[in-house]
């Protein structure tokens, strides 16, 4: 199911730094490898890069805070 694949791909680039760097270097190549549709690939080529970086940063801080709470 393509919609689930897109969610999985977004989760990966939001959470994993090396996946995100590979994606930013070659959006089409990485999205194609993930089996996304041409429409989704085109959308990802136009991704809001500042938003992506800020989202990744914010999620990392939130995960660190949650981890801190558990210790």
């Amino acid at each position: 199911m393509s919609a689930a694949r897109l969610e999985a791909f977004l989760a990966k680039i939001y959470v994993d730094e090396s996946s995100r760097e590979r994606f930013l270097a070659d959006p089409r190549g990485e999205a194609t490898k993930a089996g996304l549709s041409e429409r989704e690939i085109e959308a990802l080529e136009k991704i809001d890069r500042a938003g992506l970086i800020l989202t990744a940063r914010s999620l990392q801080k939130k995960r660190q805070r949650m981890t801190g709470k558990r210790h």
Binding site: M1, S2, A3, A4, L6, E7, A8, F9, L10, A11, K12, Y14, V15, D16, R39, E40, A43, L44, K46, I47, D48, R49, A50, G51, L52, I53, L54, T55, R57, S58, L59, K62, R63, R65, M66
Partner: protein, 308 residues
């Protein structure tokens, strides 16, 4: 649904009564361990307490007993953060069953969750994330909300979330997407006004127009919070971090909301850290009451004009 039935009954009673309308809104605070003493010693100034459901899913028996005790002395609502209902992927049934068990134990006045996805493939994102706004996530959310209603016994209120990125691969703007989900599901809306303010600021739309386009009769509750500015690649965005005081525009949106909605609202202040003395938070609850009163007053004036 019983909630909607009660609301309709209330509206009938309201219009049959003579004179000015007096709406009993409620204003409360999110339960956090760090705020426990402050909350418990000021229950006379807190109408309702919102508890994070996930904090109690696997809590020891004595903590759950303490929660039941709290619910016996003050109105309690439950707020979930990990279901990931706005997804093309079916919601985890085990998490729904945990929610159902907690709801059964605590008997909250309502429970709520977010229009977000929190995992994708095998990856746990660890927080609320805006999914692509597409037919697939609208249909997925509607199906997940129906699953939630079936397992828990009552559909959750659903909350709009803040996002720092316009979700890639979207076919709809946020208001259209939310309205389509609300229109195809049993859930009413928990409208987070700071999330609305942040998204409007970050993506250049008018928060008041957004409010007017929502189905007012489906807005059951509201959240208030604060945030801060963050920056990347030379662009500034407003981050909803729940670590700062409620800014003025959010109180203004609350007054707008109170002028639009004709039934009582439950309003919750969320604070997740950087805790000030409890008096500061109680003052923010008072400001929320003032904003609600201002909005209700405008609604009264409008209705009196219409009746004249």
């Amino acid at each position: 649904m019983w909630r909607q039935w009660l609301r309709r009954l209330w509206i009938v009673v309201k219009f049959k009564s003579a004179g000015k309308i007096s709406i009993r809104d409620r204003v409360g605070l999110g339960w956090r361990r760090e705020l426990a003493v402050g909350i418990l010693s000021h229950l006379d100034r807190i109408d309702v307490v919102e508890v994070i459901a996930d904090d109690f899913f696997d809590a020891p028996r004595d903590e759950r007993r303490a929660l039941r005790t709290l619910a016996a002395q003050t109105p309690v609502v439950l707020h979930g953060v990990s279901l990931g209902l706005a997804s093309a992927v079916p919601v985890d049934k085990k998490l729904l069953e945990k929610t159902a068990r907690l709801c059964e134990e605590v008997s909250p006045e309502y429970w709520s969750e977010h229009l977000a996805f929190v995992r994708g493939g095998s990856i746990e994102i660890g927080h609320l994330t805006a999914p692509p706004r597409t037919d697939a996530t609208i249909e997925g959310a509607a199906a997940n909300l129906e699953r939630a209603r079936a397992v828990v016994g009552e559909a959750p209120l659903v909350e709009n979330i803040a996002t720092l990125i316009d979700p890639p691969g979207s076919d709809y703007d946020e208001i259209t997407w939310i309205n389509k989900i609300i229109g195809s599901s049993p859930s009413d809306l928990l409208l987070d006004l700071h999330n609305l303010h942040a998204n409007a600021t970050n993506f250049g739309f008018d928060a008041r127009e957004f409010l007017k386009r929502l189905p007012a009769e489906r807005i059951a509750a509201a959240h208030l919070a604060g945030g801060k500015w963050v920056e990347a690649l030379g662009e500034r965005r407003l981050l909803d971090d729940h670590l700062h005081d409620v800014p003025d525009p959010v109180y203004q949106l609350l007054a707008e909301l109170a002028a639009l909605v004709t039934h009582p609202l439950t309003v919750i202040l969320e604070r997740d850290g950087g805790y000030p003395p409890i008096e500061i938070l109680l003052r923010q609850l008072d400001r929320a009451r003032e904003a609600l009163a201002a909005g209700r007053s405008r609604q009264n004036e409008r209705m009196e004009k219409e009746a004249a």
